[in-house]
């Protein structure tokens, strides 16, 4: 009976109820859109960081993590690679010699990190070859070809085939220098790589430092979910420290956590605005029906029934608006997730953060039922004050107002 009365009451002032339902729909839709949009930023940043810089797993000598010295090498690289080649979860592996160096052109010099790589392995792991904007991938230069980023090239005023001198400590701690020529100029999607990394062939840099070895093994997997499984497989073989990208790059973890907090805060703000909208509308509905509510109390309707009636009116509107908002939100994310959201007009700013210009919003399926619960909770919250106001009305008002 109360449910039926509440349902009928919703449609008594149709336009007002539709405003509340519309507010719920827009609130839920905008929340889903905001989440999808925010996820697309985080995902693009994480994806680019993984695919262009960190990979899913990295292995280092534990001492290298404390003091990154080229002499602290991976202890059993061959055994590790043999194991990884057999794993179906592994997409690519790149072993790197990492040397801190000064790079100097005829104009100026700056500090960089030289990544000594196997060109094929690195290309499969970080798509390095596809990031070339000029020149070739270690071709056309016979002795010590080097790849520099667009930024480094601008700072050092380098062109293709320009000569640079790199200065570094060799394996024995002696300062040594080598002359290299620019084979190619790249632009990575990872800002840190653009800022301070140059690439040489591993064989060249190992020859220059005077020792054959690697300081880092980066492993790209088919699926991010396989990280724990591969780490478990690696641990018996590796004498070194095996870490997932979240440990290697705590900023990614921080970003994911902060995104979760941001989403909660934005949800709270939107729902708070909705609560006040509901309070305002329901309060108006209650005050307009003072006489009627007084009559209901007079003829024997209990306070708890009046309270339930007002609460149900709001919950029912939540049950109408919530799923509609979720539906529109789901459709929006579904379409934008396929066609993408083109933010080319902000490409420069996005590039500085290592984010693509076309974003693909996505929202986890588990978010939708949680949002439905949040909407109903919001509706309940918004209905409490008007419902209390309704039960506090004196039934005598019905007679006094005649």
């Amino acid at each position: 009976m109360i449910l039926s009365l509440s349902w009928k009451n919703i449609w008594r002032t149709r336009h007002r109820s539709l405003v509340v339902i519309g507010a719920i729909i827009i609130g839920v839709w905008s929340l889903i859109f905001m989440m999808g949009f925010y996820n697309s930023f985080i995902n693009a940043f994480a994806r680019n960081s993984i695919n262009n810089e960190y990979s899913h797993i990295q292995i280092h000598n534990p001492e290298y993590l404390i003091e990154p010295d080229l002499a602290t090498e991976i202890q059993n690289e061959t055994a590790i690679r043999n194991m990884l080649v057999r794993s179906v979860s592994v997409e690519a592996v790149s072993s790197r010699r990492k040397v801190n160096a000064m790079i100097a052109s005829t104009k100026t010099s700056l500090g960089v990190q030289v990544f000594g790589i196997d060109p094929d392995d690195e290309s499969k792991t970080t798509n390095l070859e596809s990031h070339l904007v000029e020149g070739s991938y270690f071709l056309n230069i016979k002795r010590n070809p080097i790849l520099v980023s667009v930024k480094t090239a601008e700072k050092l005023k380098l062109k293709l085939k320009s000569k640079v001198v790199i200065t570094f400590q060799d394996y024995d701690g002696n300062i040594t220098a080598a002359s290299c020529r620019v084979s190619g100029i790249f632009h990575s999607k990872a800002p840190r790589i653009n800022e301070r990394v140059v690439y040489m062939k591993k064989v060249d840099i190992n020859r220059l430092v005077g020792h054959d070895g690697v300081n880092e093994v980066a492993i790209l997997l088919n699926d991010v979910e396989s990280i724990p499984e591969v780490i478990n497989q690696l641990e018996p073989h590796a004498k070194d420290t095996v870490r997932s990208y979240k440990e290697v790059a705590p900023e990614l973890n921080l970003m994911e956590n902060s995104s979760r907090i941001t989403k909660i805060i934005v949800t709270a703000i939107i729902m708070l605005a909705l609560v006040f909208g509901i309070i305002n509308t329901m309060l108006m509905a209650v005050l307009e029906r003072t006489k009627e509510i007084g009559m209901l109390r007079s003829v024997g309707m209990h306070r708890k029934s009046i309270f339930t009636m007002i609460m149900l009116e709001t919950i029912l509107m939540g049950f109408i608006g919530g799923p509609m908002g979720l539906g529109f939100g789901y459709l929006t994310i579904l379409i934008l997730g396929k066609v993408g959201l083109d933010l080319s007009s902000f490409s420069e700013a996005l590039d500085d953060f290592g984010i693509d210009t076309i974003l693909y919003p996505s929202v986890e399926t588990s978010t939708y039922p949680v949002l439905m619960f949040v909407v109903l909770f919001t509706a309940l919250l918004g209905a409490i004050y008007p419902a209390i106001k309704a039960v506090r009305l004196n039934p005598l008002d019905a007679i006094r107002k005649i």
């Binding site: 009976m1 008594r12 003829v299 024997g300």
Partner: protein, 235 residues
Amino acid sequence: MQLEKFRIMNVIETNNLVKTYNPDTIPVHAINDVSINIEEGEFTAIVGPSGSGKSTLLNMIGGLDNPSSGKVVIDGIDIKNLNQPQLTDFRMHNIGFVFQSYNLIPVMTAKENVEFIMLLQKRSKEERDSRSAELMEKMGIAETSKRRPAQLSGGQQQRVAVARALASKPKFILADEPTANLDSQSTSALLDIMAKMNEEENVTFVFSTHDQRVIDKAKRVITIVDGKVQSDETR
């Protein structure tokens, strides 16, 4: 034995009823020492000029307002001893209310309005259907059962309100100025129906009114002036 009979006969008793507004500043005695008994089956009009206290008296009899002193006894029960939920239940089962401006629920049909209190009383669907059909037939509004209040005339709405009040089988009906918003034809029709219900089904009616047509129909007229019973005339 005599006492028991007396209690059954008196549906409403007020003993030295007083209602004072602003007791601490400028006291206004809306009701001042009113003691009346109304027996089962009476058709009583409480009359008096505006501000005489007749509505206040009705509110206290209906358990909607608390007296400053004195007591209201309904069917042998001093309603002062009931807590809020008990009083709500008591009103639902014992008192039928008819308001000047009908106070029907606008989102319900005439039939649903008539059945509303029976729904609160948790009566079965069969009982609700038969009782509402019977009452609407007697009230001459059977054909309006599916219409909403906005689609009914004032007279029809008030008849629905009376049917609603009667549907719960209360001990008595309290009607505050029931004809104030009706034209003379509707007033006459409504009074005829209520008089018929009173005569045929022994329903007790208590009106507050200053409508001469209602006063003329009443079997007993209690006149209140300045919160006191000035006259109590049985015809």
